[in-house]
Symmetry: C2
Subunit: 241 residues, 2 copies
DNA sequence: ACCTGAACACCGTTCAAGT
DNA sequence: ACCTGAACACCGTTCAAGT
């Protein structure tokens, strides 16, 4: 009956249709959110529409309101889901007593998440947070608790743990957003043709920029790790490793 | 005739009406963008609508398309305008030869801008950048040139200037976004009642958080300046002040 | 030259009605 | 119980027509 939705060619304005209709298995909140994440990853946030999301789930769009209060709440769920997926990262299982090492592994795991969901990360970064305990990018009560616990288990005081939480969060947020903004430029360059020199702007007016290979500005993973090490060293020196 | 638009009580869904109709003086691109900035500051990005923006300018909304290609381009203009306003900051006039001091003054100026336009800053942070030379938060060719010039004028090499540009940008981006996310929680708290303890969530499940004054997580300007000094000291040590 | 009206193809959301 | 159809109040954008 409502098994697999066929790629109907009727909707002239929906090239995204005929995608994957999960088909069997009735709806629930998490299934809807997971589909939303996939849609955002593939087509961008702008394209995520209640109606389109519904049609990807083989349903009429208005049906989603039985499971989710509205679009804003859906986006909150998306952020929560992506952030909480980190809990399954095997790299983060063993904490040990070396907190700088834990911070390093956690930072790299968040970085992997950011690059796996580059369209979701800006949401993680700038959605208004709803509790005073959480901060981007680890914006969930569970993660904040996990973070502080890892620090205090290593013998740090609560106050120190919070100072570290703040500095580490700020570092990560800024650097990941910077990396992602570069990724976008690169992607835009590929779209037009292969490796176009970009719609050449008026760089000529700016002598320093004109004589500069833009590749030098690209933040790569090596730069990130270097700055991360410097932060960790600074914190270790201040609070004892 | 079309002088000052009156605060008509007809539009039941537009409490923002009756605001300021600039009235005299015909439209132009900059005037439209300035009005957009004011609208975003007052009512948030979601409320910025071509039609509403038009009505605030005493015009029909469709008229804006004679001056601006579309909404996306309008937002680009908003970002550009807010960022370029920094050029008029008197604190940044004299560069001298002490580049860490310049970085400090520039960082504080950007911070003032972020807090003056808290609804615009996320746009500055996460809009896809269109050239490979610019990075948030100083995302304009002119500013990137100014920044690099200030560094090289102090005797630093181009390569060093770029490394500093990256680290400084990442630091600023992350910390300002963190500060703004707190500001939102505070604002939300005020809306409900005066200083409500917030829609008490399930913090109880998390022992560390439960015994924690959320005020400790609040990043204040002192924390920001402390972390800034640490960054500047680190850079000065690495590249010579 | 500059703006408006009407129209098009969408949105999010509500709710009575269908099965 | 779960979904749909129709409706409402909006969107951004285009374009012929008005002044």
């Amino acid at each position: 009956v409502a098994d697999a939705v066929e790629s109907t060619s009727a909707g002239h304005a929906d090239p995204a249709a005929g995608e994957t209709a999960t088909g069997r298995g009735s709806l629930d909140r998490q299934r809807i959110i997971d589909a939303a994440v996939r849609l955002i990853d593939q087509y961008g946030l702008r394209q995520l529409t209640m109606r389109r999301l519904g049609s990807h789930l083989g349903v009429e769009g208005m049906a989603l309101y039985h499971y989710i209060p509205g679009r804003e709440s859906l986006l909150d769920g998306v952020v929560e889901t992506v952030v909480d997926n980190l809990h399954d990262d095997p790299d983060l299982k063993l904490v040990g007593s070396d907190w700088p090492d834990y911070l390093r592994r956690l930072a790299l795991a968040v970085r992997r998440t950011a690059f796996a969901h580059p369209e979701v990360f800006p949401l993680i970064a700038s959605r208004p947070t709803t509790t005073p305990w959480t901060r981007p990018p680890l914006r969930s009560l569970r993660w904040t608790e996990t973070f502080l616990r890892a620090m205090t288990d290593c013998g740090l005081s609560g106050g120190t743990a919070i100072v570290i939480y703040r500095s580490w969060s700020g570092f990560l947020l800024g650097h990941l957003l910077l990396d992602l903004s570069v990724r976008d430029v690169a992607a835009a360059g590929q779209e037009h043709d292969q490796a176009l020199p970009l719609p050449v702007p008026d760089v000529i007016e700016y002598p320093l920029l004109a004589g500069l290979d833009p590749a030098l500005l690209r933040e790569n993973s090596a730069d990130f790790e270097r700055d991360l090490e410097l932060l960790l060293r600074r914190l270790a020196a201040e609070f004892g490793h």
